[in-house]
């Protein structure tokens, strides 16, 4: 299997990273992080969830005033109000997320697979009617039927979505299952795949590397691996691992990345074991 020639990092520090329980970035910090990430060469920044309210929307609008080279993406549930809130902030790249595992569909949404597909189409079509570029998220994909994931991806592609996020929402992959499952999916998926790993067993970076090896085109990462529970894939470690193992250059300046990571409060970093000060 030849390594992929293209592999982009999607930064989700300001969205999934800030969802680390108890973490709040001020407006100043969010702008500083976004600007600094832009300078490192990160091309994609998942900036936030405008549906959270006026406060978040104000910050999102301020991010657009910075005129970054990176593309700012808004995270949305599959509903029109979320999408409208994002568009009103200035977003033209919209990410729409729905769960694809039967566990999530039945227990969380109390719906079925057909409903998910219909909701997906409806929300993509709505976003596209507002001239948005749409990426879709498949929540809990690692516990989903791979054939349903592919059906979901095909439906998204037919409606004009440009890529799909494969989320290992609860961090249940290991390197082997990540590689095997993603290789199978990547060979059949009509859309480029973005792997989104979580670190519940400390395997997020390794699973992201497996995703690269399996042929996916993008991966979500955060600064210092912050995020829900034990966090997401640490961007610096993913970049350095790809370089060390496969001589692959992500095009991101890791020295500048280390500098911007200092904005993150260290107690939210999952791996920062430090000596107690005497």
């Amino acid at each position: 299997m030849c390594p992929v020639k293209k592999f982009d990092i999607v930064d989700t520090t300001l969205r999934d990273g800030e969802q680390s329980a108890g973490l709040v970035f001020s407006e100043k910090e969010m702008i500083a992080i976004a600007k600094a990430l832009d300078k490192t060469g990160v091309k994609w920044i998942e900036a936030g969830t405008p549906a959270m309210g006026i406060g978040e929307q104000k910050i999102m609008s301020r991010l657009f005033e910075q005129r970054l080279s990176a593309t700012l993406i808004a995270w949305n549930r599959a509903n029109k109000n979320d999408i409208l809130a994002s568009v009103n902030c200035g977003f033209s790249w919209i990410h729409i997320s729905l769960p694809v595992s039967d566990l999530h569909i039945r227990c969380k949404l109390k719906k079925d697979r057909n409903w998910v597909i219909e909701k997906l189409k409806e929300s993509i079509n709505f976003a596209r009617s507002l001239n948005c570029t749409v990426t879709v998220g498949a929540e809990d994909a690692s516990r989903a039927d791979p054939e349903f994931f592919l059906e979901y991806a095909r439906a998204a592609a037919e409606c004009g979505a440009v890529r799909i996020r494969y989320a290992d929402t609860v961090g249940c992959f290991d390197s082997f299952t990540a590689y095997t499952n993603l290789k199978y999916i990547a060979e059949k998926c009509p859309l480029p795949i973005e792997f989104h790993g979580h670190n519940d067993f400390g395997l997020a970076v390794a699973n992201t590397i497996s995703a690269y090896k399996a042929g996916v085109a993008l991966a979500s990462c955060t600064l210092l691996g912050i995020g829900e529970r034990a966090g997401n894939a640490d961007m610096q470690k993913v970049i350095e691992s790809l370089k060390a193992l496969y001589s692959f250059d992500c095009g991101i300046d890791t020295k500048k990345l280390a500098a911007v990571s200092k904005i993150i409060p260290p107690n939210f970093c999952p791996s920062a074991l430090s000596r107690r000060s005497s």
Binding site: D174, S175, A206, I209, E228, A230, S271, L273
Partner: protein, 363 residues
């Protein structure tokens, strides 16, 4: 997959380096044995400086790592197990190694090939020949932390098939890959993995490999229900602050704030938790903050014995978001109550006059 897992612990080496009392070290060893630690690796340099040497070297589970020097080999004589550090050189002679094994007394000796990632299978055959001739107890494959997991698995599988002695695995975590590489090694059939609590001193985090093997691969590991508490105590004894979000043992690793996640957890915990907090002796926590939704507020007030209406929920949610953003911290129970009291009083007074919201200080 073999239903067995065995670790060479490095946590104790950190304790020896810090010159902690033997009683503390003994307690740590006792705890770690619950978590499949079959031997405790310490460096000769740390042993040399340790006051209670005599107590350390009599424990048959403690293995001393030595350089190929006469002084170190002689000094490690009291240990039941020693490990010789060796660096392979292409076309280099192995006579220095075989002499050292003979001086150390072959049958208690392990060889750690510290640049094993550079060796091909033919190179390993040289060491297997040494192992056969000298009665070496085992060989430790030391990885630099930068090996592709599939290639590592393939290589180790082939080596293990022809090895005349057990093969152990040790790696570095500089790229965040140590746990995954160790799992590759387990899958390949190594007899033992080097690890330490939270990766202290050695880099491969014991709790990650242990629990991943238990919950993802169903390896039969009995322990776990006290993991978080046991490992937190060990780290505190060693003088480390544990990151609150450290996988499996951090104090906040089962804390949920985001509205969608809390809503999911309330319905079914497996939606957003691959293991239960009780599986590692931790507790689930509900944090009220910037990302909270109405489900969080509702359930919080239910715990206070208060049922909120939809209007009350929406009003409170907005204030919670504003307060959390303003103070850059979660909203405490006391603050939540104060916001609720303010809202209630405001509704009561609204027909009589205005009441200005001034501040809500964190208590």
């Amino acid at each position: 997959m073999e239903n067995r897992l065995d670790f060479a612990d490095y946590t104790i080496d950190s304790a020896v380096a810090q010159k902690l009392s033997f009683a503390s070290i003994e307690q740590m060893c006792f705890t770690l044995q619950k978590y499949s630690a079959a031997c405790f690796d310490i460096s000769y340099n740390n042993f040399k400086r340790y006051a209670e040497k005599d107590k350390l070297c009599v424990d048959p589970k403690i293995r001393c790592w030595v350089n190929l020097s006469f002084n170190e080999i002689a000094g490690s004589e009291p240990f039941s197990q020693i490990c010789l550090r060796w660096r392979h050189k292409a076309s280099g002679s192995l006579s220095r190694l075989t002499d050292a094994i003979a001086a150390a007394g072959g049958s208690r000796v392990f060889i750690a090939i510290e640049n094993a990632w550079e060796l091909c299978e033919a190179d390993f055959s040289l060491y297997f020949d040494v192992a056969r001739r000298c009665g070496v107890k085992g060989i430790i494959y030391c990885c630099n932390g930068a090996e592709d997991f599939l290639k590592l698995y393939d290589k180790l599988s082939r080596i293990i098939k022809i090895a005349p002695c057990p093969i152990e695995f040790k790696t570095k975590n500089r790229l965040g890959l140590a746990a995954a590489q160790s799992m590759s090694a387990i899958k390949a059939g190594v007899s033992r993995i080097a690890a330490s609590v939270a990766g202290v001193h050695c880099d491969c985090p014991l709790e990650e490999v242990l629990m991943a093997a238990k919950f993802l691969w169903r390896v039969n590991i009995g322990a776990g229900e006290h993991l978080a508490g046991d490992f937190q105590r060990i780290l505190l004894t060693l003088g480390f602050d544990i990151p609150a979000k450290k996988a499996l043992i951090g104090s906040e690793v089962f804390a949920h704030e985001s509205g969608i996640h809390v809503d999911g957890i309330i319905k079914e915990t497996t939606l957003y938790e691959i293991i239960k907090p009780e599986d590692v002796g931790a507790k689930r926590k509900l944090v009220i903050g910037k990302h909270s939704g109405t489900a969080s507020i509702r359930i919080k007030f239910k715990s206070f014995g208060i049922e909120l209406s939809e209007d009350e929920l929406k009003g409170l949610l907005l204030k919670v978001h504003q307060l959390a953003q303003m103070q850059k911290d979660p909203v405490s129970d006391a603050q939540l109550n104060a916001l609720y009291q303010y809202d209630s009083a405001h509704r009561c007074l609204s027909s009589k006059g205005r009441m200005n919201y001034v501040s809500c200080k964190k208590i």
